[in-house]
């Protein structure tokens, strides 16, 4: 949300929620595999609410939870 707080905002990817198990790789952001789209949306919303973060829906239908 804080696009204006800095000239070059640095976002952290806090979590990735996907439906494709091939995209569940090890790495810094938590990557979760959802069973269906509804579950994917619920998981994303719950994590984003808890972390007060923003949600980005990628064109591949994966969700990113990001925060500055």
């Amino acid at each position: 949300m804080g696009r204006e707080s800095k000239i070059n905002p640095k976002y952290d990817i806090l979590a990735v929620i996907t439906l494709n198990k091939d995209r569940v790789l090890s790495g810094k952001p938590l990557t979760l595999l959802a069973q269906n789209e509804e579950e994917q949306k619920e998981m994303t919303a719950d994590i984003a609410k808890a972390l007060k973060a923003e949600i980005v829906r990628m064109k591949t239908n994966d969700f990113l939870i990001i925060r500055e």
């Binding site: 949300m1 804080g2 696009r3 204006e4 707080s5 000239i7 949306k41 994303t44 919303a45 984003a48 923003e54 949600i55 980005v56 829906r57 969700f63 990113l64 990001i66």
Partner: protein, 302 residues
């Protein structure tokens, strides 16, 4: 009493009149405008007291000089130091508040506000000084001389306020309502891409129903230098969120092709007219101002 010197009544009249006019100058310039700053009693008190002190320094300078008390005139250098402290105090105070606002004022805006507060103390000093000089040099004594001094002081104050008045966004650009479109998780204003951070259904619904956006179009191409400055955009966003409140989300985006700047947000108070008005009235920051005439001038002779 032998060995003690008292002020003459005429000098006392000069000093009191000059202090009053100098302090009045600070009161007049300490207006609570649409920016609502300062909007707290203690803030007023601090600035009125520093205005009174600077008026006092300005008013005693001439009588001190005439009584051959040259050391007392060095008080003016003390005034400069005091005004610098006013600027520093204001800067520190606003920086401390940064974390508590809806959006950041930004360093450029804070610097401009602090400089304005410093400059307005100089108003008090100069107005008081000129008032005291006028009363002393006019050939009329008594009330006539005092009235002439007051008139000259007020005229100077009027000129100083006119000279120091800066421009606003509305002077250099058109501000119009922007049409909001939410396509999937992407937000567009007047067809311009703003963000793709509306990933959740809730965010998309919120922006569709309650989002507002304005598009700022510069009147001339060179005004883009001011408008696209990060500090300037931050100041615009700050004024908008301070006036309308902020429920969630705030974005600004530049269009590199035509120089348009978009400000989009979800406010607490949905008032489009107020949004446009506050953006129009947002001051152009001194640190950003680049007069086109000066840019064109061939100062170096090359």
């Amino acid at each position: 009493m032998p060995g003690k010197e008292f002020l003459a009544a005429s000098d006392l009249n000069i000093i009191i009149t000059a202090i009053l006019i100098g302090t009045f100058a600070r009161i007049i310039t300490l207006k609570e405008d649409f920016r609502q700053y300062p909007s707290y009693p203690n803030g007023y008190l601090i600035h009125l007291i520093t205005g009174f002190v600077s008026a006092s320094l300005g008013s005693v300078a001439l009588p001190a000089l005439l009584s051959k008390n040259f050391i007392a005139v060095t008080f003016l250098s003390l005034a400069i130091q005091q005004f610098r402290d006013v600027r520093k105090m204001e800067k520190e105070s606003l920086m401390d508040l940064e974390e508590t606002e809806y959006t950041y004022r930004g360093k450029a805006y804070i610097d401009g506000i602090a400089k304005t507060f410093e400059a307005r103390n100089y108003f008090s000093l100069v107005v008081a000084l000129v008032t005291s000089i006028t009363i002393k040099i006019v050939p009329f004594k008594g009330w006539v001389g005092i009235i002439i001094g007051i008139a000259v002081g007020l005229l100077l104050l009027f000129l100083l306020v006119r000279i120091s008045k800066g421009k606003t966004i509305g002077d250099i650009a058109q501000v119009k309502t922007g049409k909001i479109e939410v396509k999937g998780s992407e937000l567009f204003v007047d067809g311009m891409f703003i963000t793709n951070q509306l990933g959740s259904d809730q965010a998309q619904k919120l922006f569709k129903e309650e989002g507002m956006a304005v598009v700022i179009t510069p009147n001339e191409n060179h005004f883009r230098i001011n408008l696209e400055n990060f500090g300037q955009r931050q100041a615009v966003l700050f004024e908008a969120t301070r006036t309308l409140g902020l429920k969630r989300y705030h974005f600004t985006r530049r269009d590199f092709e035509n120089g348009k700047v978009v400000v989009a947000l979800v406010p607490i108070k949905k008032d489009m007219d107020a949004f446009i008005e506050v953006v129009k009235k947002c001051p152009l920051l001194e640190s950003v101002k680049k007069p086109n005439s000066v840019m064109k001038t061939n100062l170096k002779g090359r």
